[in-house]
């Protein structure tokens, strides 16, 4: 409140009140302090709100190495893992969140929540698992996998602030699921980083991924071997910090 406003306020007080000007000024000062305190409180709330960790969803097709990456990031910065890794598709059948992962880059600190999601697909056939387990377990795994995919889609629509899209760089990235998911992510205006994983494999081709999605930054890495993780963390800090 400026002086002019104070003058207007005073002129509107009754003569009785005007006679007790020091008390009026005291009341006004208190009012100013209250207003200032409220204002600071609002700004502080907003600042804290901005500082709330962003939820970064790790998405991609099954077996791209999402959980291996999530575990690598979580272990590097918190010492804990997030989930179990496996060569059998749909090992991750529930979205799992690791909160307050604090990543330090170039003297700055970025805090994110990592959400490791089940691999997205449009089909799940329990017979794909019967070589690895009993039929009953395979059926249960497939049922849980379908629930997990639906959950992942729900998270994408409602609950993530950014996306790390993980692809197996040894596989052809141009699949309908990848195209659809990138389209869905783009339609929601979410910041997205593409991670070309498994560069330790001989048949890996990062260029194939860069060519498939030239509109997004692609970062090569091997989550399993820990290759190029510095660039991974630089990119996370730059995109989601």
């Amino acid at each position: 409140m400026n002086v002019n406003v104070c003058n207007v306020c005073l002129s509107e007080f009754s003569p009785v009140v005007r006679a007790d000007t020091p008390r009026v000024l005291e009341a006004l000062t208190m009012g100013l302090f209250t207003e200032l305190k409220d204002s600071i409180s609002r700004v502080t709330d907003r600042l804290f709100s901005d500082q709330e960790p962003k939820r970064i969803g790790i998405y991609g097709p099954p077996n791209a190495g999402k959980t291996t990456l999530a575990n690598r990031i979580a272990r590097d910065w918190t010492g804990d893992a997030i989930g179990t890794e496996s060569h059998i598709p749909h090992e991750t059948r529930r979205a799992r969140r690791k909160e307050n992962v604090q990543i330090e880059r170039n003297g700055k600190s970025v805090t994110i929540d990592i959400v490791d999601t089940p691999g997205v697909t449009t089909k799940v056939d329990y017979e794909e698992f019967t070589d690895e387990m009993e039929e009953e377990d395979a059926i249960r795994r497939s049922r849980e996998a379908t629930e997990g995919v639906a959950e992942a889609m729900h998270w994408l629509r409602e609950d993530v602030d950014g996306v790390i899209y993980v692809l197996d760089s040894a596989e052809d990235p141009i699949t309908q699921v990848n195209t659809m998911l990138i389209g869905i992510i783009e339609s929601r205006d979410l910041p997205v980083l593409i991670f070309a994983n498994k560069i330790d494999l001989e048949e890996s081709s990062v260029k194939r991924i860069e060519d498939a999605f030239p509109q997004h930054k692609t970062v090569p890495l091997s989550a399993k071997e820990g290759d190029n993780m510095d660039e991974v963390y630089d990119a996370i800090a730059a995109y989601f910090g």
Binding site: K123, Y126, A150, L156, Q176, R188
Partner: protein, 131 residues
């Protein structure tokens, strides 16, 4: 909705449902998804003239997952083919880069009947088994 079948009693044939954009535009999201999945559950190949929006695609995946059943239905195969510059979107819209119609020819079928589904820049190729 134009349909084609190569078998009059439908028992051994493959039905293809070609659904116009006009027909889909009349429907709410869940009605579209229901129409697609009902067709796919019946073993049909569903071709959408104008496809789905990203949000509808997301809900299609989610609904498909909810309906997968180890006793029969194991999901869908889907391919899309965006319309190029020959599409009927407005010239101004394309020049301004705001052609948001998203219209794209989309082929959807039951995963257990589609043996291969290939797409390149000019071709979607589908091989459908009868059983």
């Amino acid at each position: 909705m134009p349909t084609a079948t190569n078998d009059s009693d439908g028992s051994d044939g493959i039905q293809i449902d070609l659904i116009s954009g006009e027909r889909m535009n009349e429907l709410a999201t869940m009605e579209k998804i229901r129409m697609i999945l009902d067709g796919v559950h019946d073993g049909n190949i569903v071709i959408l003239e104008e496809g789905l929006t990203p949000d509808e695609e997301s809900k299609l995946i989610e609904t498909t997952m909810a309906e997968i059943n180890p006793d029969g239905f194991n999901g869908i195969e889907i391919e899309t083919y965006p319309k190029g510059e020959s599409s009927n979107s407005s010239l101004l819209g394309r020049i301004m880069g705001n052609d948001e119609s998203g219209a794209k020819l989309t082929v959807i079928g039951p995963a257990n009947r589609i043996e291969t589904l290939h797409k390149d820049e000019t071709l979607i190729s589908t091989l459908v088994s009868r059983s």
